[in-house]
Symmetry: C2
Subunit: 349 residues, 2 copies
Amino acid sequence: MNGYNVAILGATGAVGSRLIDQLAQSTIPVKNLKLLASKRSAGKILQFKGESLTVEQTTVDSFKNIDLVLASAGGEVSKKFLPIAVEAGAVCVDNTSAFRMDPDVPLVIPEVNRNALKKHHGIIANPNCSTIQMVLALAPIRQKFGLKQVIVSTYQAISGAGQAAWQELLDQTKQHLYDKPMTAKITPVKGAAKHYPQAFNLLPQIDVFEKDGYTHEEWKMIHETKKILLDDMDSPDIKVTATCVRVPVEIGHGESIYLVTADKTATVSDLHTLLATAPGIIVQDEPAKQLYPQPLTATGKRETFVGRIRLDEENPGAFNIWVVADNLLKGAAWNTVEIAECLVADDLM
Amino acid sequence: MNGYNVAILGATGAVGSRLIDQLAQSTIPVKNLKLLASKRSAGKILQFKGESLTVEQTTVDSFKNIDLVLASAGGEVSKKFLPIAVEAGAVCVDNTSAFRMDPDVPLVIPEVNRNALKKHHGIIANPNCSTIQMVLALAPIRQKFGLKQVIVSTYQAISGAGQAAWQELLDQTKQHLYDKPMTAKITPVKGAAKHYPQAFNLLPQIDVFEKDGYTHEEWKMIHETKKILLDDMDSPDIKVTATCVRVPVEIGHGESIYLVTADKTATVSDLHTLLATAPGIIVQDEPAKQLYPQPLTATGKRETFVGRIRLDEENPGAFNIWVVADNLLKGAAWNTVEIAECLVADDLM
């Protein structure tokens, strides 16, 4: 075998362009790369390892002879095309929410529950961006000290809402700087009934609202976390609650996480030592040097950055931490490609 | 008596200009207004009720015949001049952190612990901006259901760091939009050893770091909250922990607050009813209509806005709420002027 035929579904989006880039840098031997997108984007020329590739419109015939599909074109597109791709013999790593909670679909962060890949039936789901960076930081702590409760508040970058929302933030920013009224046709949620400016503003709505008042983004953080951590280590349920807020940042989600360990003797120093050696994590936590994770310094990096590790002095075993990662890389494209690397390395293609 | 002689100390700052404005709109009868600032700002002309006033340099002689001082020129200035003003017969409402934790100085949010004003000895402290809006939302809940624990993550606007930091955010934003490197000489903390861009970035440092890894801003939220709530209603200690983050917003702090009530039967509907009738609070919480508090819509308002009220379904009696207020008004100038209104109304001048 001298390589895989790979297709990227949704190649022209914010995540798509990074999928191409991460694939180019990966250990996966690529024989041919097919770039797929909607009719609107077909014909665009994109680069892969110095080669010009023309984007093709996705059709039911797009997946013949394809070994690996990396998908990031929206939930409906994945629902429609991935079963066809699997039928045609491909393994699919899906970066949408379409199959994440399907009990037959592994939901994988390689550093946390790589073993779950063994159970795949053709589709592997990439977790939500905000879930990945949180669970990556929590898993080592849970392995060592147990984890009873997690309370998270997110500070999410606009690029997580897609390229058009991202552009709109920049447009709004310019309008505001030049004393023009800000226009909002996408933010906070594309297709929602109401739109509000995101520039110089905080919008506590990511995705649609559920009946209990939580947004679907918050729901995802709660339920995806439980699914992944149960793969990693069977144990009594961990309690999780979340508040998700969009902030006027381009790339890099921040998360303020309050965590309660089962072992009440855990110290800040223990968490430092543990996280400093955990895969995929870089600890940035030197208050005296003003070293802490920031979106601007995390942008373009594959790692997840953890800092501001503090004991809740009134609650032994409870800690505050601050976690930042590039939502388009570890939160999306890199985790997806990393899953594919593991599938290849573990002989699961 | 046909009015008070009032002095505003720090009249030219972001809060100072709003103190003038809030005083002009207040019920306080003003006989004469004296505007005080540093030597650098002396000579500036500012408007009060259509009258042009010249800013004077603050000296030890500035407080003769002054009845009321509203101070917002920094902790060191307050420490130096307020005792002199008190000695000269004035009552001082101080918007700096200089005297907040002094056991002889009431720390007051009028809607919460107005009665504490009776104990004053000439100086009354205005709490930290991030403390005020949180405690205003928590106090009614605590009165009705008891409050055991609070975990807060803040999303704080740059105007809380002063006018120069605010201008720097706008400059950085322009630099970034036009592909120029961002320069940082103030953000996140004036006078700190290192500076980082705030535009399109999150900085988890507000004020200096304490030895335990918490910032002084976080320390303030924890300890000021306890001091105010103990005035409001004696009860066993409430546990409080905080993570404070500066965000690229001009005006309006956001706070994601997790609160645990003593009464495990409290419902979302109970909190709605309670907060909707609480003084100084406007509930904005209709997910179906995408109604929730935002900094842009809270700017210029005296009220504190509460929304996203959700039960933590795995922890009866625990709730997530989202609170936004104009940090320069309820967080500073309005709360200061409101305290002064109460001093006048309660015959405590």
